[in-house]
């Protein structure tokens, strides 16, 4: 197992006194088939007068909190220890070698609990409605006889080539339309686009929020999005399960990725949302993320 220590800090400074705050944090990593969250802590300053952790519909960890004393700033620090299964020890993914058409047929034939579990991820979602550019892209890449692995790789490369990485191009509320118009965006936009294209083909896909290891191992390049929150797409393959594709870095996710949670789109797993009562605005918002390999423990498995 590879153990990562993740520290994600968000600091808001307000222009005027905030009389009360209500927030919801999606910052504590969940466990998945290839990772285990072995410890986590959410520190809220000023101290929350009320907080509670729960699991959402998709099994993600959400923390509700409220602060009912006046405050001028808010700092939220999530620290977690996550053990990730190394690439070499991960189960094979035969679904990637099946033709796309077969995978789609298998999805359409699903019944029972599996069908229920993937149903939320099959069609449009609140932030990913029907969109012309996306359907065109899905048609352009449509090759039913190719294997799923090939199709996803092509999708990742195409997004990587066609759209520039530019944090100034889009904002948190940008739509796929904005992405196409700007021909640039960030990981959130690229993940959204990949999810939408895969759904247009007829395969279930979800949006994943998480992190990348900050400093690359010796000799490897530093990846885009390494010192911030990251996002990518995950595709459901019957018989295999979910396979994660990172279009921002044009690769399948590996053992340098740490998952926090997933949903239909960004709207299901924003790191922090909240409501504040104040007569002023937000003077500054700073986010920092640090993901470090702390030690390598042998898995024994």
């Amino acid at each position: 197992m590879t153990r990562f220590s993740v520290v994600h800090t968000t600091r808001y400074v307000y222009e005027a006194s905030v009389t009360s705050s209500y927030g919801q944090a999606s910052l504590l990593p969940r466990s998945t088939p290839v990772q285990e969250c072995v410890g986590s802590e959410l520190r809220i300053d000023p101290a929350a007068s009320d907080r509670r952790e729960r699991l959402d519909l998709y099994g993600n960890r959400l923390v509700y909190f409220s602060i009912d004393r006046p405050h001028r700033s808010l700092e939220i620090e999530a620290s977690s220890q996550v053990e990730v299964v190394p690439d070499g020890q991960r189960p094979p993914r035969p679904g990637l070698d099946a033709p796309v058409a077969d995978a789609i047929a298998a999805v359409e034939g699903m019944t029972g609990d599996v069908r229920v579990d993937v149903a939320p991820f099959r069609f449009e979602s609140p932030r990913l409605g029907r969109h012309r550019g996306t359907s065109d892209l899905a048609a352009e890449l449509w090759e039913p006889t190719a294997t799923v692995g090939e199709a996803l790789a092509r999708l990742g490369s195409l997004i990587h080539e066609r759209f520039a990485f530019d944090p100034q191009a889009t904002t948190v509320t940008s739509t796929l339309d904005d992405l196409f118009r700007q021909e640039a965006g960030v990981c959130q936009d690229f993940a959204h686009l990949a999810v939408a294209v895969v759904r247009a083909w007829g395969l279930p896909a979800r949006y994943v929020s998480g992190y990348l290891e900050t400093d690359p191992p010796p000799g490897q390049p530093r990846l885009q999005g390494a010192d911030v929150s990251h996002a990518w797409a995950s595709v459901y393959l019957p018989g295999t399960g979910w396979v994660d594709l990172d279009p921002t870095n044009d690769q399948f996710a590996n053992d340098r990725y740490v998952t926090v949670g997933w949903g239909r789109d960004y709207g299901d797993v924003p790191p922090l949302t909240g409501v504040i009562f104040t007569s002023g605005g937000t003077r500054s918002l700073e986010v920092s993320v640090d993901v470090r390999r702390v030690d390598a423990v042998s898995s024994g498995a």
Binding site: Y12, A16, T19, S20, S21, Y22, G23, Q24, S49, D50, R52, R54, D56, L57, Y58, Y64, S66, D68, T111, G112, D113, R115, V116, A119, P120, R122, F123, E124, P126, R130, P167, T170, V172, T173, V186, C187, Q188, S209, G225, D227, V228, S229, H230, A231, D268, P270, P271, L272, T273, G274, V275, I276, F277, T278, S279, G281, T282, L285, E286, V287
Partner: protein
């Protein structure tokens, strides 16, 4: 029973092939009408029309209205004088079917937010549920404290071609209409007392008793006497009238999102000076808007943390925020199988035949039969999007087919429901109109109580396929006729414990009452002054320089008192004084101009609407009159002075009636004291400003005498003055009467004495040290008024002015403003604006 050839119902001819509620297919009266039909017939058309006018008058007097979405206007609730009649026997069957359907939908909801067996077993397609915006992921695995998911339920019913009732639409999210049904009953039983009594109509009161008992039960795990509130979007909501009406009838406070706050996972009411726990929220804010933290972040109508509090079961929010998912019309296609799976029963009452286009076979059928079907999107969003295949052109049908092909999962098609017709009074006499019946049920003791009858609505015209209040439908009371006389004692609410001693006055309500008092006085004093000036102008002859000087002085005073400069004092004032009609008309009629009579009345009405549940029912007759007067004034033109002056008189009369109701019909609770404090402060200010603006300048005796007379008329003190002083008006004696005389209800002294009492009675004021800011300032004001000597005030300063009077007025005006500010500061603590936490998303900083 055979009807006469020339009576009320003589020309009544149901359409061939459409079931009719009054006549069977051989034109004989149906059973429930055998007594009422002939009674109506005997009444005759003109009598029935006169009763119809009584109906309208009573509805108007209660302020019954329905707000048209996005129009900013409310329209009167329209009720047909002829009820819809049902026999007990037929109703018993319908009631049983409604019980079954409500129970089924509750179980479906429990499953969809629980184990989802209906989905894994393929009874309901999972994609249909997860695609529906009515499915609320945040409500997953949650329920009401007793494990249920549905508390109130409504269903629209109509007859099919065989005359059997079918369910057309289910309402589970925040069903409305029960309060309007109650209103219909109250009015119709008053308009037809003997007909109603003799017909032995099943009462609706027991249903509302169950409603109360059910809400009490939802909070029973918290308290023996749970605090229950109705959460409303406010006076601009479509059904705001109903919220206030239910609040009044059931005895619960009607609150808005900002009246509630979540603290430590519990919902609290922002009452005066303290937070009071709330145990049950009857939610009438749409689910999506109920909590900006977890649902729509842009909602200003909700309460952040409400969903979390409901999850912890520290509060029961009924209906729960997830309950809307079973309103999806596509579910009709799957409910028979769900009934089989969950209840092991057949559906007693079938829904309309329905096809969900997400199913390929169903889609094929729908596309082949588009011209015979009604198509709608799965998510309800206004009646306008329902498309009737038979009324579409070939082109429109092709476009619809394309939309269905594009997004088949978003579309539902239904077989049109023929619906029966009922006799309805129209300008053409009594004619058959297609009728939809909304029935209501409420959960109680693991069962469902159903309102006998409900709310019927008839199409606005003979051809309209859609029946919706938004589109001008007419309502009908529904009488289920009992075979036995009904126990009159059942009319009274008697269940439930004694109401809690908390009067539930929120800060928002207190503030609205305070401003209602202020605008009431402001409107009155402005109207009186304008009328006095108009009278003075009428008296003035053409070459009367004295009269002209007096009028000019009064006109200037109007501008100063109403803060409407330039008017008669600023640039261009001389021209306007020479020809004041245009400016005076604006000061009366222009409701967008602050300071005008119309504007003060408009604000008064807005404040009153916001505290509808706090005010006596008699209030609404006069607010309704005031609305009408405002309409008249808005259309007034300068050359119709007599209309304007006449209406101004009517406005004054309505305002005085309102003051009478405030004085005679309102309990002296905290709310009343706020209203009275507002009135006293405003009247004090108006008198002080009038004296200041009219008497600061010394004029010759002849002019001053005319001015003083107008002041006395305007201050409603002329008769007393004449009786007491007999002679020509003198400044000193006028000041005696209007400042110092504690027995004159229009004097400063009288206002300040009442204000001291009102302030002392405000919650939290004990009149003991340490005194609050408003107590200290009101005592200073009282001392200043009590100690003043009027003789020196009347004297001039030798420079043509009454400087002492000016100084006194300025001082007491500042003190009165200070009292108002102090009351507001302590009692109306405003929350700062609600904003979303800034969100950068997932990106580099």
């Amino acid at each position: 029973m055979i009807l006469t050839d020339d009576g009320l119902l003589a020309g009544y001819a149901p359409r061939e092939g459409t079931a009719d509620e009054l006549l069977d297919d051989r034109a004989r009266l149906r059973e429930p009408w055998t007594a009422v039909g002939p009674a109506l017939e005997a009444m005759g058309t003109s009598e029935l029309r006169s009763r119809q006018r009584d109906v309208a008058r009573l509805l108007d007097a209660d302020g019954a209205s329905y707000r048209i979405v996005n129009s900013g206007r409310s329209q009167p609730w329209k009720l047909d004088a002829i009820p819809l009649l049902m026999s007990s026997a037929e109703w018993a069957g319908i009631e049983e079917s409604i019980r079954q359907r409500a129970a089924l939908l509750d179980l479906v909801l429990r499953d969809l937010y629980g184990e989802r067996k209906l989905l894994s077993r393929g009874v309901i397609p999972p994609e249909l549920v997860f695609d529906d915006p009515g499915f609320v992921p945040a409500w997953d695995r949650e329920s009401l404290p007793d494990g249920s998911q549905l508390f109130t339920y409504a269903v629209d019913l109509g007859r099919d071609g065989d005359g059997e009732f079918r369910a057309l639409a289910d309402f589970t999210q925040a069903p409305s209409g029960a309060g309007y049904a109650l209103q219909n009953r109250v009015v119709l039983s008053r308009v037809f007392p003997s007909l109603y009594r003799n017909a032995r109509v099943h009462h609706v009161a027991p249903f509302f008793r169950s409603f109360r008992a059910g809400l009490q039960a939802l909070g029973a795990h918290r308290s023996d006497d749970p605090r229950i509130v109705i959460l409303s979007p406010g006076p601009l909501a479509e059904t705001a009238f109903e919220h206030a009406q239910l609040g009044g009838y059931l005895g619960y406070s009607v609150v808005e999102g900002r009246d509630l706050v979540v603290r430590d996972g519990e919902v609290q009411l922002r009452a005066l000076g303290q937070l009071e726990p709330v145990d049950v929220v009857l939610r009438r804010v749409d689910a999506a808007f109920a909590d900006p933290l977890e649902l729509r972040p842009d909602s200003q109508l909700g309460v952040p943390g409400l969903v979390e509090a409901a999850r912890r079961r520290s509060v029961a929010v009924a209906n729960p925020v997830g309950s809307g998912v079973v309103e999806n019309p596509a579910l009709h296609a799957f409910l028979p199988a769900a009934a089989e799976a969950l209840l092991g029963q057949e559906l007693r009452m079938p829904g309309v035949e329905t096809w969900w286009c997400g199913d390929p076979d169903a889609k094929r059928f729908v596309l082949e039969h588009l011209d015979q079907l009604v198509c709608k999107p799965i998510a309800r969003s206004g009646a306008a999007r329902t498309l009737f295949g038979d009324s579409l052109t070939r082109d429109e049908r092709r476009r619809l087919a394309q939309r269905i092909e594009d997004e088949p999962r978003r579309w539902v098609a239904q077989r049109p429901l023929p619906m029966s017709t009922t006799p309805t009074l129209t300008s053409q006499g009594v004619v058959p109109r297609r009728t939809l019946l909304r029935a209501f049920a409420v959960a109680r003791h693991r069962s469902w109580a159903v309102m006998p009858g409900g709310l019927a609505r008839v199409a606005p015209g003979p051809g309209n396929p859609l029946i919706s209040n938004q589109l001008g439908a007419l309502a009908k009371d529904v009488w289920v006729l009992a075979s036995e006389p009904q126990d009159p004692a059942e009319l009274w609410l008697r269940a439930g414990p004694t109401p809690a001693s908390l009067d539930g006055l929120t800060q928002r309500a207190a503030e609205n009452l305070f401003w209602m008092g202020r605008y009431l006085e402001r409107a009155e004093s402005t109207a009186r002054l304008l009328r006095a000036v108009q009278d003075r102008r009428t008296d003035q002859s053409n070459d009367d320089a004295t009269g002209a000087a007096a009028v000019a002085a009064l006109l200037r005073a109007i501008t100063l008192m109403t803060f409407t400069e330039p008017g008669f004092v600023g640039p261009g004032a001389d021209a306007r004084i020479a020809d004041p009609d245009h400016e005076l008309l604006s000061l009366i009629c222009n409701d967008r101009r602050a300071g005008s009579v119309a504007n003060s009345v408009r604000r008064l009405l807005t404040s009153a609407e916001a505290v509808r549940d706090q005010l006596s029912l008699d209030t609404w007759q006069f607010t309704s009159d005031l609305e009408n007067h405002l309409d008249t004034l808005a259309g007034a033109s300068p050359n119709r002075q007599e209309v304007v002056q006449g209406t101004l008189g009517s406005v004054l009369a309505s305002l005085l009636s309102l003051e009478g109701i405030v004085a005679e019909s309102m309990v002296r609770d905290a709310g009343w004291h706020f209203l009275d404090a507002g009135r006293r402060i405003e009247r004090f200010l108006q008198i002080a400003r009038m004296l200041q603006s009219t008497l600061y300048t010394e004029r010759d005796d002849a002019v001053d005498s005319l001015v003083l007379e107008s002041i006395l008329i305007s201050a409603e003190s002329i008769i007393t003055y004449r009786r007491r002083y007999r002679s020509r008006a003198q400044v000193a004696t006028v000041l005696d009467l209007l400042i110092a005389d504690g027995g004159n209800p229009r004097s400063l002294r009288y206002q300040v004495d009442r204000l001291v009492e009102a302030v002392a009675a405000l919650p939290g004021n004990a009149s003991q040290p340490p005194l609050g800011r408003e107590e200290r300032s009101v005592l200073r004001l009282q001392t200043g008024v009590r100690l003043v000597q009027t003789e020196p005030l009347a004297a001039g300063d030798g420079a043509g002015c009454r400087a002492a009077l000016e100084a006194f007025c300025s001082e007491v005006i500042a003190l009165a403003d200070e009292v108002a500010a102090a009351v507001a500061e302590r009692s109306f603590a405003h929350l700062p604006p609600q904003r979303p936490l800034a969100d950068l998303g997932v990106r580099t900083s």
